[in-house]
């Protein structure tokens, strides 16, 4: 199981344990993390699964693909350095313990 730690809007932290291979968005959904709407269910079509990845972890992630880059380029409240779409982050042992923050607004 891979651990991920979400800081939800409002400041509560939620620790999740999800199996290797699921996405960070799916881990959030399984743990009922609020603020991750994921309307398209991970199809990389909606940008409502946006998160800010902790600076210590962002470098460990594979690069964004074009679709993710383009969606984020037009999403709300994006931070150049740390914004990612959580449905595009696949959990793996290297990411065990990853920390992310959920934005207050999705879109």
């Amino acid at each position: 199981m891979i651990k991920a730690i979400f800081t939800a809007p409002g400041g509560t932290t939620i620790e999740t344990d999800a199996r290797d291979g699921l996405s960070l968005m799916e881990a959030a959904r399984l743990a009922n993390v609020p603020g991750i709407l994921a309307e398209c269910g991970g199809a990389c079509s909606c940008s409502t699964c946006h998160v800010y990845v902790d600076r210590d972890w962002i470098g460990k992630l594979p690069e964004k693909d074009e679709m993710e880059t383009d969606l984020l380029d037009f999403a709300d409240e994006v931070d150049e350095a740390t914004s990612r779409l959580s449905c595009q982050i696949k959990l793996s042992p290297e990411l065990d313990g990853i920390r992310v923050t959920v934005p207050t607004r999705q879109g």
Partner: protein
């Protein structure tokens, strides 16, 4: 204690129940679904679940613990067979009546099947709506077999793409003069047709299925209106859905292309509400019914608020997506009433977008592997802004600085 029953445990029903709790409803809450499983996402059924890239456990919208934690009594495998609106009681297929204070109908839609005379309902002929449908046809997807897909809407085309990718021989017939005729402009139909033909899908438009017979136990013989006769191994029917209004009709609710609700999701009976694929609602002076996940969620959430007396009128912000082969089609807005379509080439080869206008007013955009155009146009449409058509047509003008028409009639 107040008791709310949500009938139909799909995309809208689960969103509605969750929202009631999120808004502080602390009465009794029962979510009733006829399918044997907790609420799940349907879009992957014709995409990554069908192709085998996504497994069952990833389809569920929420873990089962969610319903317990939020004190939502989830009754799966339970069909409601009647509503008595005067006494607000629900008759269940198996089990005692339930008395409630308010009802939300989120019963979705039922797939239209071939008529029984054509074999509708027989083995080897499938509809594409539920997990059960998807699982039933899974064994048919082996390379070299021949599938006939009836209907060239998004679901039929997605199934065609999965089948072709898996090495099946695919014939798709569409009775209308072109695929996607009901939902998109010719430009989009042309683009999608070319995509499918490039992958070997035999698309026949203006062509209906006249007869379907089973000369032996393993194959079907399909007579098409273009005069040809095909031997196929199985048939997928993608000819659309009907809103599931049976319960509402029995309860005497007004029906108008679905359960008729007002902007607050309220039916012709004040204690009964409806949302999602089964409901038609006011839209820009007319009435529409949408079949999409975003609408199911947003309308359900707006209706939940109305049921608690905290409602604001629901303003739909339609969008949709479809995955076919390596193409992601993203659609912002609703194109009804368009009078012209502007094609904008994307920044990368093989990508483009079609912008639907009524006069100067931007209504909708279909973006083919062009998420930038999709995101930009979605923002514009939701803000009621329209870019100048000459600028849209000119790929040299960056998306983020498209000049706007100042006074496009809203």
């Amino acid at each position: 204690m107040t008791h709310i029953a949500v009938i139909g445990a799909g995309q809208a029903g689960s969103a509605l129940a969750a929202k009631l709790r999120a808004l502080g409803f602390d009465g009794q809450l029962t979510l009733i679904g006829s399918e044997p499983v907790p609420p799940y996402q349907r879009p992957p059924l014709s995409k990554k679940y069908m192709s085998g890239e996504m497994q069952l456990d990833r389809l569920f919208l929420r873990p089962e613990s969610f319903y317990e934690e939020h004190q939502i009594t989830l009754l799966t495998g339970t069909r409601v067979i009647g509503i008595a609106p005067d006494t607000m009681t629900l008759a269940m297929e198996n089990g005692p009546e339930i008395s409630v204070d308010q009802i939300a109908l989120t019963t979705g839609a039922d797939p239209i099947c071939l008529p029984p005379a054509m074999g509708g309902g027989a083995p080897g002929i499938y509809t594409m709506r539920s997990l059960r449908d998807a699982d039933a046809m899974a064994h048919e997807f082996t390379p070299g077999r021949h599938v006939l897909i009836v209907g060239g809407g998004y679901i039929g085309l997605e199934a065609a793409a999965v089948a072709a990718t898996k090495g099946l021989q695919v014939t798709l017939v569409e009775m209308a003069p072109r695929i996607l005729a009901r939902v998109a402009a010719e430009e989009t139909s042309d683009w999608v047709r070319a995509l499918h033909r490039a992958h070997g899908v035999d698309i026949r438009e203006g062509c209906g299925l006249d007869s379907l017979t089973r000369p032996n136990l393993t194959t079907f013989s399909a007579g098409l209106s273009d005069g040809s006769m095909l031997e196929v191994d199985f048939v997928i029917c993608g000819i659309g859905v009907r809103p599931a209004t049976a319960l509402a009709e029995m309860a005497g609710l007004e029906i108008d292309n679905g359960i008729k609700v007002d902007a607050f999701g309220q039916s012709s009976r004040p204690l009964i509400f409806a949302a999602g694929d089964c409901a038609s609602f006011p839209w820009k002076g007319t009435r529409i019914r949408l079949e999409s996940v975003p609408n199911a969620i947003d309308q359900a959430e707006a209706t939940a608020a109305s049921m608690l007396g905290q409602g604001a009128p629901y303003v739909a912000r339609p969008w949709f997506w479809s995955d076919q082969f390596d193409v992601k089609l993203q659609i912002a807005g609703l194109n009804s009433g368009y009078d012209r379509v502007i094609t904008r080439p994307g920044e990368k080869p093989g990508t483009q977008s079609h912008w639907y206008f009524a006069g100067d007013r931007l209504l909708a955009v279909d973006a083919m592997n062009d998420p930038r155009a999709y995101m930009m146009s979605k923002r514009l449409i939701e803000a009621g802004k329209s870019p100048r058509t000459d600028a849209v047509a000119d790929p040299q003008v960056p998306l983020k600085s498209l000049p706007l028409v100042e006074d496009a009639a809203a």
